[in-house]
Every structure is written in C-alpha cells, then in structure tokens.
C-alpha cells in the first residue's frame, strides 16, 4: 500500500449515477468530479466538454519572424484564427475551412497543431539557450519542437521515447519544424543508466489516461476505469523518480500530464515527496491562467505544497485540461 491510497476508494452516489447517465459518462468519473468541483461548476465543466474547445496552432518562430504573415495566409485559405492572449505565437482556430494538417504552410513547418494546455508545459519549464534539457516520453514532438523554439535552436535537448513508430513521427516533426538542437534516443526511460545529474532541466510530460483531452476525444468518457488510473499512477511514480535522477542538483523539472485526475497528479507527487527530502516544489504560475493544485480530495489530504502546482480546465481556461508542477532538486 502506498500513502494516500484512500483516494482510490470510491462509493458511487445515486446522484452521480443520474448525471453520468445524462452526459454518457462512466459513473466513477462523475463521482470524482463531484469531489473536485462544486455542484454548479460540475455542470459547467460537463457542458463545456460537450461544447468542446477549438483546436489551436503554435506559430514556429524559428522559421517566421512575424506570425501575422502566417495568420494572413491561413485566413486567405478560409481559416479563422484568434490570438489566444496567452502566448503571442499561439492562435485558436475558430473556424476550420479544410484540413489544418495538409496546408502548404504546415508542410513548410510554419506551425504545429497543438493544444494551448500542451504549449504551456514548455513555457513553464522555460529552457534557455545553451542548456542541456531532457524531454522524456517526447513523441510526437510538440513539446520538444516548442522548447527548441524557446531555446532559439541553441543548446541541446535529449528527446526520448520508447516506441519506434512514435520516434519516427518525432523525427519527422523535428525536421519539418527545422529543429537543429535535438538528439533523439529510442529507449524506455526506466532503463536509462549513466546520465545521472546531467541535465539542467527535465520535462516529464508523463504518459497518462488523457482525462484532460476529453474535450477533443469524447470516447474518453467511457474508455478508462479506476483500475487504469491506479496502474497509470504507479508507472508515473516510477517515471518521476527516474526523471529526478537525471536532473542536476539545482536543476528544474516540470511534471505535467494531460489529465485532470488527482490520482495521476497530486497523488503521484505527494507519494514521491513523502519519500524524498531533496525535492522542493516551486510555485508554478502563468499570469492569471489556471487554478492551484488540489490539497484535499476524497477524504485524503495531499502534501501541502500541492497548492503551488497548476491546473487548467476547459470551462475555466478555454483549453484542454492539464496539470503542471515545477520541482527543484536541492
């Protein structure tokens, strides 16, 4: 038994059953949301999931000095774009007139189709030119190519993924976006040895059940069980421990998931923090975007520093759900 395991014990109420039936979810999901959101906000969240959020693109400033040119060109093709107001080079595609992935501008590497929640990971980690950065579980490359953009193609990113098919996609995206500062390694990160304390920064955008992507993938309402969450959190704890090993003392790690499940986020971090005294949780904030991490959930009190972490939700922030937490190795 791990600490905080009580979060997996859930009794499903008749109210949760009723709402689950109305919105076509598995009941355990609604029961959990009832413990995350107040009642009126729960409905707001569920309605926003039904409505969805527009897809978004990240303009590639490695290839374009002025992103307005890209906007003009896409608008000439009938797409309607809207500045996000969150990142200067990020745009919501509010009207798609064709396939966003097959325009000439996409093939030229002028943009990457990426959720705003996903873009925030690279911005929060904030890698600098000349640093050594590791992107673990990196394919298909949205975050690697974004970090290369932030680093102005200087320094070095080690981009790791264990699947050959995914690594091929990663390589294709690296080339299309004209990224030049990345070394790709196909490896299960749990099997990496010899790189301890090498990296200035580490991004662990951990494999997850994708509960935050439910706005894009409605099938997620019924595709994962509580047991999947339990198994995934076990893997995430192992990955986070491993990722910490690769980080230099004084270095920064961003733990993120495209999931709003406390089981995959605050639970994972609280478990790792309870066993180690060499990690400091840093305030993870980006202007007025997002809400603090959860400290109490389902009769469980997590590590107090979880309030320093950051969550984004579709109904509050207009983007897919995500979780982020910056950690420093002492």
């Amino acid at each position: 038994m791990r600490e905080y395991d009580s979060i997996f014990e859930l009794k499903i109420s008749s109210k949760a059953l009723k709402i689950a039936s109305r919105y076509s979810y598995l009941p355990y999901m609604i029961e959990r949301y009832m413990r995350i959101f107040p009642e009126d906000e729960l409905i707001e969240f569920l309605d926003k999931v039904e409505e969805g959020v527009p897809r978004s693109i990240r303009c590639n400033t490695l290839l374009l000095e002025d992103c307005r040119l890209l906007v003009e060109r896409l608008e000439e093709r009938g797409f309607e774009l809207e500045q996000t107001g969150i990142l200067s080079y990020a745009y919501r595609v509010v009207n798609e007139s064709g396939s966003l992935g097959s325009t000439i501008e996409h093939l030229l590497g002028y943009y990457y189709i990426q959720g705003i929640g996903s873009m925030l990971t690279s911005v929060l980690l904030s890698p600098r030119e000349g640093e050594f950065v590791a992107d673990l579980a990196s394919a298909p490359g949205g975050k690697t190519t974004h970090m290369a953009q932030i680093m102005n193609n200087k320094g070095c990113i080690l981009s790791v993924d264990k699947s050959l098919a995914r690594v091929k996609k990663l390589r294709s995206n690296i080339q299309r976006m004209h990224v030049k500062n990345t070394v790709v390694l196909r490896k299960d990160i749990l099997r990496i040895t010899g790189l301890e304390e090498f990296f200035d920064k580490v991004l662990l955008d951990a494999p997850c059940t994708g509960e935050g992507l439910i706005v894009f993938k409605k099938e997620r309402k019924t595709s994962r069980t509580m047991d999947d969450l339990r198994k995934m959190s076990g893997l995430q704890i192992q990955l986070l421990e491993k990722a910490m090993e690769l980080l230099k003392p004084g270095g920064t790690l961003l733990y993120s998931t495209c999931s709003i499940a406390p089981e995959e986020n605050e639970y994972v971090l609280s478990n790792v923090l309870s066993r180690r005294d060499d990690i400091e949780v840093l305030p993870t904030r980006y202007g007025r975007v997002g809400s603090p991490g959860i400290v109490e959930y389902n009769n469980t009190v997590f590590h107090d520093d979880m309030r320093k972490c950051l969550r984004v939700y579709p109904h509050r922030d207009g983007m897919e759900g995500f979780f982020y937490c910056l950690l420093r190795k002492r």
Partner: protein, 177 residues
Amino acid sequence: MPTKKKIATIIPCRQGEEKVKLFLEQNHGLDNKVLEECIFYCNKMEKTELFCVNKEEASLIELLLKKNLNPYNGGLYLGKISNERFEPSLQLGKEIIEHVRRTGIEAKRLLVLSDHQGIRFTYGKSVSLTASREPVTRDDSIYLVVNSRHEFLGWGVIRNGKLYSLLDIGWYLRKGG
C-alpha cells in the same frame, strides 16, 4: 524466431562531411559556410544517414555512446549516401535556401515554380516546364525547387522538359506522420 528490429546508431564521420561539401560545391556552387560550426555524424544502416550537430549535441552523443545508449537522430539531418551517391534531405534544402536569403549569394540549379506548379510538385507529381525559362537538361543534376515566395518545396530532377520530385515537403504528410 522473430528478429528484433535494430535501430541505427549515430557516430562521428569524416566521409559524410566530404560528401556534403562536394555536393554543395559541385551542385549548387556554394561553399561550406552553409554548414558553419557543423560537427558531422553518420549512422550506418543500409544507407548511411548524415547529421550536422552542434558542440553541445556532440558532447551528449559522446556520453550516450559511452553509456551504450544509441542515439537515433541528431541536429540537422543532411541526407543519406546510397551507392556512393549523396541524397540531400528536406532539412538541408531549407538550410540552403535560408543561407541564400540571409547572404544574398546565388545558388546554382535553383528552380522557381509558379503557385500552381508548386502545388503539383508537393503532391509528388511531375511538372511540365515548357513555359518555364529553365533550360532542358539531360544530366542527373539535382535542383533546389522553390515557390514564388522562394520557400523550399523539395528536390527535383529535370528530364525531357519535365520536373520530377526526388523528395518534396509533401513527404511529411504522405510518409512522415
């Protein structure tokens, strides 16, 4: 017994450096300033792939190799050598066009297509050059192909008044994933 699919490992290589420099000079009349501060690496599979890496990447690759970790890709992908012949990559083409734009130096064998021709080319289709000013050649020279905005579209060869794609940016959609 099923065989495990092997993945290429990249290692330092001088052979690659010579091939690329020769290609730039002979084919496009460009010196090696296109690839300044490049450290050349290759992998050895059926075809040798070439990469240009920066000094930080080189130090990381050396560390990975020392720890028996095999990097798969690094830095700028330059192309591959097949039967002693160099086949340039899309990334190298983009790098050359960027160099030309930045320095104002002219590259030989640069072919400008109209928008309509450019679209055909990125679908991997042949483009008739009869209306073009480009002379019809009979050799196997490789052309840098750009659109009217001078954006790199791919590599092509000209035969009997037609441009054929060797590798165009439509590859990212058709095969790149």
